[in-house]
Symmetry: C2
Subunit: 262 residues, 2 copies
């Protein structure tokens, strides 16, 4: 046979949860622990095949995922492999890493986790109260000063739609265009404790985001929340097309890649 | 002055959140890290007074709290101290321990965190799906087999009311009487992920609980949830008044002392 691998490979789509705190991020880096490497190693340990994983998006150090998606190609073994059993076996090999394959599906050989994504949902969690939240120390951003959630939500609508997001992208962002279409940026809140503490949730959806865009947008919204900025200031920051005009970058702890749609 | 301390002491009630994973439990034990010791040490560091803390209930190793309550007496210093500033100062001294004082209140000198408690609310969290939950590894119990939540809730009602709970208390429990009045035992569920995973919440209220009572009741309810036990089996286990007739003890990770009422 001339093309034994091409003839017998399956492309797998996996959906992944992870706690990003102890990692340098999704992407492999020499001498640093990465999500990508831990999963590639688990696949190699189980399947005895060195593969390369391609993710929908490369999350930064400390960023978490409830629904990261990646794909890879695996040669058929002697027995056909089902998605449920593949996920189960990889999860066994992944322990005790804080990474879980919640779903594995055989997909079309042309499927790309990165290029076929039509929508991504990110969540940013803020615990807004004076006292630090010990149960979720690495899972949220602790913000002490009271934030005006209604004002944040109203101002956030300035950023939805198609814009040049230069003011909200990292100066090292390598995307060719600073233009993106933001489909949703909602700020809501619920009680976090019985003593007036609040959990603020910022949910945002787009086909693609720029580097640090979500964290820079949330950082800017906190300026609205404390009254330091008005809605017009946010509008001006966007119009400036200058990172120096945007608000601060908030910490990675509160950020979750929740879902990727295809 | 004959009684300088009695004349100038304030009794403080503090409400506490903590992650119990790395502790031997609430209570001080020689050579082991305890919640009580960390807070007593923080108070001593801030106030230069050695005090003893009395808690509403002594949680076990690994058990968490969102609303533990304790009291202690502090002599007045030269400046009057407000609750907000006391909590803030203690929280600064507690870092990086996963313990937070969410509220501090000056109370009547007769107030007892333990004896004046009229109701306690415990929550037990189960993540019910095949894949482990990496983001909340120490904060929930991971249970793989699908549980019938409606059957668990219905059967749980057998345990509410006044009963001899010998079948559900630890054999080392030192309470004089095995009788308790269980005011509430509710089992509910909500979606945990987009792939069929479920979070099951068991909420229970009583004036007081026996040692391991909540964890033993939840362990027994999982036998109902898998169909291994019927509601009648749970009734029989209760009637047996024998720990050997009760179900297994579930892990401490999922248990939270949520609130103490006075």
């Amino acid at each position: 046979m001339l093309f034994p691998f091409a003839m017998s490979a399956t492309r797998w789509k996996i959906t992944i949860e992870y706690k990003g705190t102890a990692y340098c991020g999704w992407q492999r880096q020499d001498g640093m622990p990465s999500i990508q490497q831990d999963i590639e190693d688990a696949i190699e340990a189980f399947c005895q095949q060195k593969i390369t994983l391609y993710a929908a998006g490369r999350t930064d150090s400390g960023v978490h995922a409830k629904g990261q998606v990646a794909h890879f190609d695996l040669d058929y073994g002697e027995r056909p492999l089902g998605g449920y059993n593949l996920a189960k076996a990889l999860n066994a090999h992944l322990r005790p890493a804080p990474i879980t394959i919640v779903k594995a599906e055989a997909v079309d050989a042309e499927f790309s986790a990165r290029y076929d994504a039509v929508n991504k949902l990110y969540l940013y969690r803020i615990i807004n109260r004076p006292a630090p939240p010990p149960l979720e120390a690495e899972l949220v951003w602790h913000y002490k000063k009271t934030l005006d959630v209604a004002a944040m939500h109203e101002a956030a609508q300035v950023l939805t739609g198609h814009h040049d997001f230069t003011s909200f992208r990292d100066t090292h962002c390598q995307a060719k265009s600073p233009e993106r279409t933001l489909d949703r940026l909602d700020v809501s809140a619920r009680a976090y404790d019985d003593y007036g503490g609040v959990e603020i949730m910022v949910e945002t959806e787009a086909r693609a985001f720029l580097h640090h865009q979500v964290r820079n947008m949330v950082g800017s919204l906190t300026l609205i929340g404390t009254g330091k900025w008005t809605k017009e200031d946010l509008q001006d920051a966007l119009a400036a097309k200058d990172r120096a005009a945007g608000g601060p970058t908030c910490p990675s702890d509160g950020l979750y890649l929740m879902r990727v749609d295809y």
